[in-house]
Structure formats: structure tokens, C-alpha cells
Amino acid sequence: MSDAVLGDAAHTPSEASVLSAPEGARQPNYAIVPKTSATGELEGDLLEVAMGPQHPSTHGVFRMDVVLDGERVVKLKPVFGYLHRNHEKIAEQTSYLGSMPYTDRLDYFCSLTNNWAYALAVEQLAGLQAPERAEYIRVITAELTRLVNHTCLIGFLLQDMGASGTPLMYAFREREKVLDLFESLTGARMMCNYMRFGGCRCDLPPGWLEQAKQVADNYPRFLDEFERLLSENEILIARTQGIGVLPRELAINASITGPMLRASGVNYDIRKVDTYGIYDRFPFRVPLGAQGDTFDRLIIRALEMRESLKILEQALRDIAPGPIRDPKAKIRGFRPKPGEAYGRIEAPKGELGFYLISDGGPNPYRYRVRPPSLINLTILEDMCVGHIVADVVVILGSVDIVLGEVDR
């Protein structure tokens, strides 16, 4: 560090940082105090560290270039693309139905909601309508997916915080029960490939509803146990409260969606706003956070699971026999009329949208996935700057990303 800088009592980080900061509201909320030394060399310098792509807490192959002052984060740049396979290009070269299995691989924890979002966009493009039983099956499977996702997220987050093993194993034990349901319904535990345009691939197997009811009935007991572990744990509270605060206005402006947005106190749930499918039939509440910190993001997920269970209870009770496919939906030679459509759903991680342009051919002219995981990372730097490296891991964990969807 130069002598001129050493003379100042405090200087802004932008003078000392390695990367040049873009203009806008990204000023860190603390100032670096230069350390004085006899020679004026080495001490007070910033260190650039690459966290990832093989770091276990990045949940995949994701890199964060972090500039550190001691243990404090001064600057953070996410680096993407390690898992990029150009899903959109592949989908533009195959038929509409042909990219349905590919959507499973986007967010591989929630393949059924991915299927639904894509089916919804194509249904809007082609003017199809899923029959009532199919809509019920979609709601049931989507809410089960939400349970799996949120349970695993809390497990992973506790693991990242150092609660090695136990919470994650508890979460995975519950996840297995739901995955067994998916397996008996779709034939696959994770890559379900179950929804079709204007309905679902196959009907529920006999006895499935009873099994699902049993899983849903037993879930609150697990949640009680899990929440006791969460809300009464001193270490967890110390590690999450006041860490990574996301203000309400920034959350809206940065297009943050899903539980992360609601943790910042914005009442926006696409299940309520768009009421796609049959979500207008189920009364459920939207939990909102007050602080927008990591603790809120954690608790919001726990509360959302309770609401999902409410929806599940009603849907499992009200589902009636009937057809599961729109008879207008063609399997072979499916060519929607020229035009475009944007369909979106409330996936467990946020707004998952598909934008399709048809030119009348058998494959989409333009196929675009709006990935919630990628866009929720926009404010990662804003949340992390000023905190220590160990908090970066926790903050990233609370964003809830899956790299299959971030890189596509």
C-alpha cells in the first residue's frame, strides 16, 4: 500500500480494491482502516481468493472471486458457466416434447415443478387446458417437491454452518419418503419427466393417494422436531441473525423471487398473483419476513412447508377421478401456431418461467428458461460485502441455488 494511502485515517475501499467497482449502490457499509507499519509494506493489502469451483459449500461447480481484507469481504464476483451445456440451443433443435426430459436436469431437486412450468408455457402457446384431475396431480406433486426442496435446503444450510451430518441426514430421511412416492408415480426418483402438454403422463397408481396422505400426515411431526432444532439453537441464531440483510427495495429492483423475496417482506407469490392451475381453490397464507436476513430466509422456508402441507391436505382430499389428458393435445406432429408465450410458476426457488416463440414448426424457434437461481444471485455481492468469509458460505446457502439451473 502506498504512503499516500497510509497517511489517511480511513479511505474508501474502491481506492484499494483490486477490481474496479461498477457505479451504483454497491458501497460496502464499512471502511478499511489501514494498518500502520514501519515499512508500510505488505500489511493492509487485500487478498484475492477464488472460492470454488470445487468448494463443497458452493453446492456444485460455482466460483466466487472474493477480495478479502483480513477475513472481511470487500468485493465478490460470482463466476458461472462450469456446468453450461446450452440447454436452450438443444431445446431449439428438438421437438417440443423432446425437451421435456431436459427440463428435469435444470433444477434437479425439483424436476416436477420444472416440468410443470414448461408444460404451462406450451399450453399457453398452443391453447391447451389440462383436465381437473391432472391439475390436482400437478398441485400435489408440486407441493411435495416444495417440501423436498425446502427440507433439503435447511439441511444443507445447517451442514454449511458446521452442524455436520445430523440435520442433513434428518432432512434426507424425509426426502426419501417423498422420493419413494415420486418413484411409484413416475418411475424415477429425481428425473421424473412426468408432465405432458395438456395433462400428465400417467394416472396415479392404486393406493398412491393413501401413501401420500400418510407422508403428509407424518410431516408436521418432523417439522416440529426440525424447527425446535432451528429456533432454539444458539449457534444457528448467532450465525444467521443480521447476516446478509437484503433490503426490500433492492430485492424488488433486482428481480429476486421466491422465499428470498418474501423474507424481505414483499408479498408476492405467483401462486396467489397468477393463480395458475387451480391454486385459487386452496386457501393458504404467504409467510413474510421482517428483517430480510439469513435467519428470515431460513424460517420462511420452514413456514412455507406448513402452508404446503395445508394445500396438500386439501388437494389429497378433493381429488376426483377423471381424465388426465386434454384430448386436443397431439403427441405426434405437435406444431403450435406461430406466436409466442411466457408461462411462469412459483417454483420452490422462485419464479421459473419459460419463454417460447413458435414459427409453426415442430421445434420452438426460441426457447428460453428464466432461471430463479441465477437471477437470485444478482445481489450476492451486496449481501456478502462487510461480512466474514464464513458468512459468505451461509449467505450463499440461504439463497438456495442449484447449478444445473444457474448455468443451464
Partner: protein, 211 residues
């Protein structure tokens, strides 16, 4: 529900000189969109975000589209008088569409809970005039998505705070999502290229095939 004709007339009243055009959509989704000229794009975006009756504070989806040079034939019904009888005759009208790149923004309102309002910006051509104004200063949520469009389509967003490639690596040359993108030769699985693969290899080695 928010009607695009109302949006258009409000923008025209608020921002004089803005050239807007409603793009129709014949598919059952009927999501029409608004073509905005590049000079007034930022002003229009700011107006849509801040006007109290729109408050489109949430830019959900930003994406690029590549349109190649094409001839579009459209069936138009024209009334003609033939032999003293008025007849309706279908004629095929042909228009030439110049190749260009497009950025599409899907806007919603989190405050008023309506949307989508879809706005489109278009470049002049696909080669050198590929600049568009960035809307990231208006909606921060467009930051990574515009970077992705720059990466995969090659649209340069003027005014973007941090325009770098997002998914491909820095030294990468071409734009993979363009319709005329040629995949690199990597035919390890086919040591003696023939038929289609040979055709493609030849095409790839012609220097004029790629701009």
C-alpha cells in the same frame, strides 16, 4: 389485467417522440408486445417503472432473439370487383424481413400485482450495428440476463455496468445461440468424416461462411 393500447397512449403522451409499435401475437396466449425505439428505451423503461398506475417495478425475464433474413408470406384477404361482382380473394403478400437481433423484456408489477407488459428492443442488423441501450440502470435484475444475451447473442448493451461474458469463457469467439452458429469440429467419434458430417466440415472451413 393491463391493456397494451392504454400503455402505448400513456407513453406517447408522457414521452414525446417515442416511436412505439404494438406487435401482435396470433397464438392462443395473445401476449402482445410493444416495440420501443432505442433512443427512448431508457426513458420509456423509467416511465413504466415509476408511473403510479403502472409501477412495473419487477423486470422478470430478459432474453434475446435472433431473427435471420427471411421472406414472410402472409395471406391477406382483398376485396376485388371482377365481372361486376365483388369478391373476396385471398392473396399472398410477401414482405422481406431484414435480419436483426432482439431483446425482449417481460415486466410485472410487484406493488400492483399485474403484468406482463412485454417490451422489445431491436438492433439494426446482426453484424456491426448490434448495440442496444441497457436497462440495467432501471432494473438491476436485468444485469446477469443482459450479460447472458451479450454472451450468447452478441448484443452490446450500452450503459451496462459490467458487460462481460457470463457462461462462456472470456476467450470464446462466436455467439452460440445465433441461428447460423457452427459448432466447432470435434469429430473424434467419427474418424473418417462422410456424408452430412463431411458437408458440415467443409462448410466450417470456408472462410466466408462466418462473418
Amino acid at each position: 389485467m393491463i391493456l397494451l393500447d392504454g400503455v402505448k397512449s400513456r407513453i406517447e403522451a408522457a414521452i414525446p417522440g417515442a416511436r412505439l409499435e404494438i406487435i401482435r401475437n396470433d397464438s392462443p396466449s395473445a401476449q402482445r408486445s410493444l416495440q420501443v425505439d432505442n433512443e427512448h428505451a431508457v426513458a420509456v423503461a423509467q416511465f413504466l417503472r415509476d408511473a403510479p398506475d403502472f409501477r412495473l417495478d419487477y423486470c422478470s425475464n430478459v432474453t434475446g432473439v435472433d431473427w435471420l433474413d427471411a421472406e414472410i408470406s402472409e395471406k391477406v384477404k382483398i376485396k376485388k370487383v371482377a365481372d361486376g361482382v365483388e369478391k373476396e380473394i385471398e392473396e399472398v403478400k410477401k414482405t422481406r424481413r431484414l435480419g436483426h437481433l432482439e431483446a425482449v423484456y417481460h415486466l410485472y408489477s410487484m406493488e400492483l400485482k399485474h403484468g406482463p407488459v412485454i417490451i422489445r428492443l431491436g438492433t439494426e442488423n446482426r453484424a456491426d450495428k448490434n448495440h442496444l441501450p441497457s436497462l440495467t440502470p432501471v432494473w438491476r435484475g436485468a444485469e446477469f440476463q443482459e450479460r447472458e444475451i451479450y454472451d450468447l447473442y452478441g448484443i452490446v448493451f450500452d450503459g451496462h455496468p459490467d458487460l462481460r461474458r457470463l457462461l462462456m469463457w472470456d476467450g470464446f469467439q462466436d455467439y452460440p445461440m445465433r441461428k447460423d452458429y457452427l459448432e466447432p469440429d470435434d469429430y473424434e467419434y467419427e474418424p473418417t468424416a462422410h456424408d452430412r458430417v463431411l458437408e458440415k466440415t467443409k462448410r466450417h472451413h470456408q472462410p466466408e461462411a462466418k462473418p
